[in-house]
Amino acid sequence: MGKYIIKRILIAIPVLIGITVIDYVIMCLAGSPLEMLQGPRVSQATLEAKEIALGLDKPVFVQYFIWLSQLLQGNMGYSMKSYEPVSSMIASRLGPTLLLMGASLLVSLMIAIPAGIYSAIHQYSKGDYAVVTFSFLGSSIPGFFLALLLIYVFTVKLGWLPSSGMTTLGTEGGFWDVAKHMVMPVLVLAFSLAGSNIRYIRSSMLEILEKDYLRTARAKGIGRFKVIYKHALRNALVSIVTVIGMHIPMLFGGAVIIEQVFSWPGIGLMTMSAITARDYPVIMGVCLLSAIVVLLANLITDIVYALVDPTISLN
């Protein structure tokens, strides 16, 4: 097991380096952050001084290596806009994003697992059609449109839920306040996740229900409930684990738009403003972070595979 994990990490390193290189090249094509400083009151000399101070006068690959060597020393650089260290910017915004992602994943599984199982057991029934139709709707509605609809209904018409931020301005927040702010963004993310999750769980349940060992279990007469929840569900876990692993990058990306719509103070909101301001170090930091998250998610998925299914060997 230990050997396998080390091997996987070693494979991930070139992928990670590749990501940073591509990132950096794209970023440099994007245009200089100096353009953002230009204005009638900024003299040419100031711009040149700034260029040297930011290291932008050096060739691209030199800039990349400077960034990389600093990174290896634990320094992710400083934001060109607010002069804050990138690492602390990310650290302070990671919490809200993880909270949002975790809650959405949980809610989507709480919808998708029972719905998927129900739908597989009652295949081709009216209930099954309803669940499948719902799941297609979930993966077809643009998140931002659903967000607008929810804001229209719950904030504008009913006035029940706040539509932006994480806490009420001017207050300390507290559990209930944050929970109220979370309802709509979590619903939007969970709805679209549940859409695809239901179909995965349904089809893997259908496959398992046809297996010989389930026929044996049924023949033993241990009762429908036990057959499904003890024998079938445990074997469906493998596909549920895959689904979770697969959706972590999706969640990470989906959160960008949803955070923007709901002004949720997380990584996504920070990324959007960094992109518009061409704040290179911040964008690089976020790309690196997200790449690490994705690669880690893949690794953990494979390890959990082996834990839930002893027949999978890691070699």
């Binding site: 990501i19 993966s139 643009p142 990306g253 997200s290």
Partner: protein, 291 residues
């Protein structure tokens, strides 16, 4: 109740089987109807649209009435006409992006799977790199770099959506390479391009087609999201996403629902229809499928 036609599965061709199995899916048939209708309206937009989509023809933000069945927007353009042209733009973006990513994905997958070795490793590592980016982040960064507009969106989505297809095609090629008909071709000294494009590719078209429908649905959703954020198709050109853009303002959201609800409904209808069709195709094209 009409008399049920008795079909003999043994006597029909593959395409007939596929068609018969596809028709069993009522939701997919409804999807085809919706897609044909909306697609037809989009194609015929210049004929159907009552007004020039970019011309100011009415009052500012006028509610729907007899002359403007979906009202007018903030600067007095006819929303219905804009909606028709927007559907056209969004469908065009989706189809073109899907075509580009399918071509890239198929070629890379064929090459990686067939030649193997170092080429395979390099291509697959590159695929991993592209796949490891959170998709939207990559698209957003790219969209902020290139001048936003319809063709940049098509190119960006096209160059980002291919890794799934590459993996799919590579997997199929690895299986097909071991089959006797491909081996005999190689032994007979057929040129490589013939083996790749005339023997292997036709045998992997079905899964590509199914996958492409989901890419089409996804890229239409992405176009909408990008244009909504103001990084996609730029006004005055209407797209379904940028028509929703106005709803970020509270007045539009609360008092002028005709400005944003229709565009959202059209996106949902299109994407649901495409997803239903893709699902039915997966079922109909499955060689191991029943009936």
């Amino acid at each position: 109740m009409t008399k049920k036609k008795i079909t003999n599965p043994a006597s029909e061709s593959y395409l007939q089987t596929v068609f018969r199995r596809f028709r069993r899916h009522r939701l997919a048939m409804a999807g085809v109807a919706v897609l044909v209708m909306l697609g037809g309206m989009a194609l015929l937009a210049p004929v159907i649209a009552p007004y020039d989509p970019d011309a100011i023809v009415g009052t500012f933000a006028g509610a729907p009435n007899k002359e403007h069945i979906l009202g007018t927007d903030q600067i007095g353009r006819d929303v219905f006409s804009r909606l028709l042209y927007a559907t056209r733009v969004s469908l065009l973006v989706g189809v073109m992006a899907t075509l580009i990513s399918t071509v890239i994905g198929v070629v890379l997958g064929l090459v990686a799977g067939y030649f193997g070795g170092v080429i395979d490793m390099v291509i697959m590592r590159f695929t991993d790199v592209v796949m490891s980016f959170p998709y939207i982040l990559l698209v957003l960064v790219a969209a902020s770099i290139f001048k936003p507009g319809m063709w940049s969106i098509i190119l960006i989505l096209g160059f980002v959506d291919w890794p799934g297809i590459t993996r799919l095609v590579r997997g199929n090629v690895l299986n097909l390479r071991e089959t006797n008909f491909v081996k005999s071709d190689i032994v007979a000294g057929m040129p490589t391009w013939h083996v790749l494009f005339s023997e292997i590719l036709p045998n992997t078209v079905a899964p590509i087609l199914v996958y492409a429908t989901s890419v089409l649905a996804l890229s239409m959703l992405d176009e909408a999201a990008l244009s909504f954020l103001g990084m996609g198709v730029q006004p005055p050109t209407a797209s379904l996403g940028n028509m929703l853009n106005g709803a970020e303002s509270l007045t539009v959201l609360t008092r002028q629902p005709w400005l944003w609800i229709p565009a959202g409904v059209v996106i949902i209808l299109l994407v649901v229809a495409i997803n239903f069709i893709g699902d039915a195709l997966r079922d109909a094209l499955d060689p191991k499928g029943k009936g």
